[in-house]
C-alpha cells in the first residue's frame, strides 16, 4: 500500500466520498496556553468521524473552532470546497452545522417542544410585524415547522414529554432532547460533544442506535467526541486522535487502535 492509501479507511460509508470539511493547520491559543497546535484533518460527506484523546487534548476546542465559537490564530477551514472566512457562530449554524454540548445546554425555561422548535430557528424567517399579528403568515409558518418537529419527536420516541419543561427531565432524556434540537436544524454536519457521557449501558445503546439512524436515514455527516472506546470503535468510520493539542493519529478504528503513539498517549509515557 502507498502512504496515501494508508490514510484512507478500509471500510465504512465515508470511503471515497467527497470531503465536506477540511481543517488545515489550525492553531489556537488563549494567551500563553496553546489549545490546538497545527491540527489538520478532514471530514467526508456521510461519514461518522470520531475525535478522541485524553482530557485536555483540545477536542472540545476543535469543535468550538468548527462552529465558530473560537477563532483560531492560524490555519484555514474549508467547508464544501470553499475556504470559510471568519464568521459568527449563528451564521455558521445557518450554513448547516449543528451541535450538542458536553454539559447539557438546553433552554431550561422551555418545554421539550419549544426547545426542539428553537432548533429550527435557522429555517424560520418571519419578522416582528408578522409575528405581532400572528394570524396568517406567522401561524402558518409555526404549523409547518411543528410538523417537521413532530417527526423528530416521533423518531426520538419522546412523544410523552413533548410539553414537559426540560428542567424536569432525567439526564438521559435531556441528552435526547438536545440531540432533537440539533436534528431540527436538518444540519449537513452534526457535531456531538460527548453524547454518551454519564449514561448507563442501556442508554448508550439507545443513543448509538439513534446516531446510526440519523447517519443512515438522513445522510447527515457526524463528527463526535467520545470517551467510551467501545462506542467509538463500533460507530465511527474514521478516528482522529489528539493529545496536548496535536493530532497524533488519524485513520480507521483498527489502525488507530494499533498505533503506538495512541497507546502511549492513553497509557502515558514521559514526554
Amino acid at each position: 500500500m502507498t502512504e496515501e492509501a494508508m490514510d484512507k479507511p478500509s471500510d465504512g460509508v465515508g470511503c471515497g466520498a467527497a470531503v465536506l470539511m477540511d481543517i488545515r493547520n489550525v492553531s489556537l491559543r488563549f494567551g500563553g496556553v496553546k489549545a490546538l497546535r497545527d491540527v489538520s484533518f478532514d471530514i467526508r460527506e456521510g461519514e461518522i468521524r470520531a475525535i478522541i484523546g485524553p482530557n485536555g487534548a483540545g477536542k472540545s476546542s476543535m469543535l468550538n473552532v468548527i462552529n465558530g465559537f473560537y477563532h483560531p490564530q492560524e490555519g484555514e477551514i474549508w467547508f464544501r470546497g470553499k475556504r470559510r472566512p471568519p464568521m459568527k457562530p449563528h451564521t455558521i449554524a445557518r450554513h448547516g452545522i449543528a451541535r450538542t454540548f458536553q454539559n447539557i445546554a438546553l433552554f431550561r425555561g422551555m418545554s421539550t417542544l419549544d426547545n426542539i422548535m428553537t432548533g429550527r430557528i435557522t429555517r424560520m424567517g418571519l419578522g416582528l410585524l408578522s409575528h405581532a399579528i400572528w394570524w396568517g403568515w406567522a401561524e402558518r409558518e409555526e404549523v409547518q415547522h411543528r410538523e417537521r418537529v413532530e417527526r423528530i419527536i416521533d423518531f426520538l420516541e419522546i412523544q410523552p414529554i413533548r410539553k414537559t419543561p426540560v428542567g424536569r427531565l432525567p439526564y438521559g432524556l435531556q441528552k435526547r432532547v438536545e440531540l432533537g434540537r440539533a436534528l431540527a436544524a436538518e444540519p449537513t454536519l452534526l457535531l456531538l460533544d460527548e453524547p454518551m457521557a454519564g449514561m448507563n449501558v442501556e442508554e448508550k445503546e439507545d443513543l448509538s442506535r439513534f446516531i446510526l439512524d440519523v447517519n443512515d436515514e438522513f445522510g447527515t455527516t457526524i463528527a463526535l467526541i467520545e470517551h467510551d472506546m467501545g462506542v467509538v470503535m463500533d460507530l465511527s468510520d474514521r478516528v482522529v486522535v489528539m493529545d496536548y493539542g496535536r493530532k497524533i493519529a488519524d485513520g480507521s478504528p483498527q489502525e488507530v487502535r494499533n498505533n503506538q503513539d495512541v497507546i502511549d498517549a492513553y497509557l502515558g509515557v514521559p514526554h
Binding site: 438546553l106 422551555m110 422548535m117 416582528l128 409575528h131 409558518e141 409555526e142 411543528r146
Partner: protein
Amino acid sequence: MFYREAGEFSTSYRDDAQTFPIAFDRRRYYLVLAVGFGVIPFFINDYWANAVLIPFLVWSMAALGLNILTGYCGQVSLGTGGFMAVGAYSCYKLMTAFPGLNIVFCILLAGLITALVGVLFGLPSLRIKGFYLAVATLAAQFFFVWLFNKVPWFYNYSASGQINAPERTLLGVAITGPNADSAVKYLFCLAFVVGFAWIARNLTRGSVGRSWMAIRDMDIAAEIIGIDPYRAKLSAFGVSSFFVGVSGALFFGIYLGAVEVTEAFGINQSFLVLFMIIIGGLGSIFGSFAGAAFMVLMPVLLKNILVGGLDWDTAIATHFEFVIVGGLIIFFLIVEPHGISQLWRIIKEKLRLWPFPHDH
C-alpha cells in the same frame, strides 16, 4: 370538578398551540373581557377609575413591556421610568406640534420613538451582561429625567416645568384634558392594554419569543444553534420600549393629564415596574397583570386600613408599604421565583386533577 380537559382533543397543531387550550379557561377569558368592556364602564366612579382601574391598566402596560425584556429575554432594565418619560414627552410634543393628529396616532408614535431610543440604549447589551447591564440602564433613567427637566424645549418653555395634556377627542368624545369622562378614559386604556397584551402573546408564542427565551436561558448555546444575539436582544429592547413608551404616554395623557418629570418618572417608578413583574411572574403575560394589580391595590388597601380605618399618620402607612414591598420581593424570590402566575398555575393544576393528588 368542572375544570377538566377530559373530552377535549386538539385535532390540529393550530388547536394545540392556542392560548387557552382548555375550554373552561377560554370561556373565563371571554367573560373577563365582557365584564371589562360591557359592565364596569356603567358602574365606574371617579375614585375607582382614578385610584385603581386606570393606574392598574397603565402599569400593566409598562409591566408587559418590561416583562418582555426581563422576563422573556433575560435583560434586566432599571431604566423603565426614563423610557416612560420618553413616551410621555414624545406624546406631549406630538400633541402640541400637530394639534390635528389623532390621539391614537400620537400615542403609537410616542411608542415608536421610545422603541428607537430603547434600541439605542440596548446597544451596550451586546457587550455587557447581567447586573452590569442593569446598572448601565440606570444611565437612561438619570439622563432622561435630567434632559426633560433641564431642556425647556421639551416642556414648551412652560413656567412650571410641567407638561399638560391638551384636550383631544376620538369620535367626538373627549379622551384627554379636564373634560374627559373617567369611564371613557378607562375604556380607552382598556382597549389599548387588551390590544397590546394580544400582541405580546403573539410575539412570545412563536420563533421570535423562543429566540428571546433562548437568549435568556443560555445565551451561548442560543448563538451556536443559530440565533443572532444582536437581533434577539435589540428586538426585545425595541418591543419592550414600545410598550413602555405607550404606557408613559397613557400615564401622562390619560391618567394624570399633567406631569413633572422628576416626580412622575423617577427611579422609584423603574423599581415599581420591576417589582410588579417579580411579584406577578417573570416571563408571564398574566403575571404582568397580576403584579400590576398587586402593586396598585396594596398601597390603596394599606392606606384605607391604616389611615382611613385606624387613623394613623400617612407617613407611617408609607413606611409600612416599603417594608411590605421589600419583604415580599425577598419572599417571592426565595419561595416562588415565578411569582403569582406560578401560584395560579399550581392551583389550576391541582384543580385539574382534583380529587386526585397526582397525575400518574
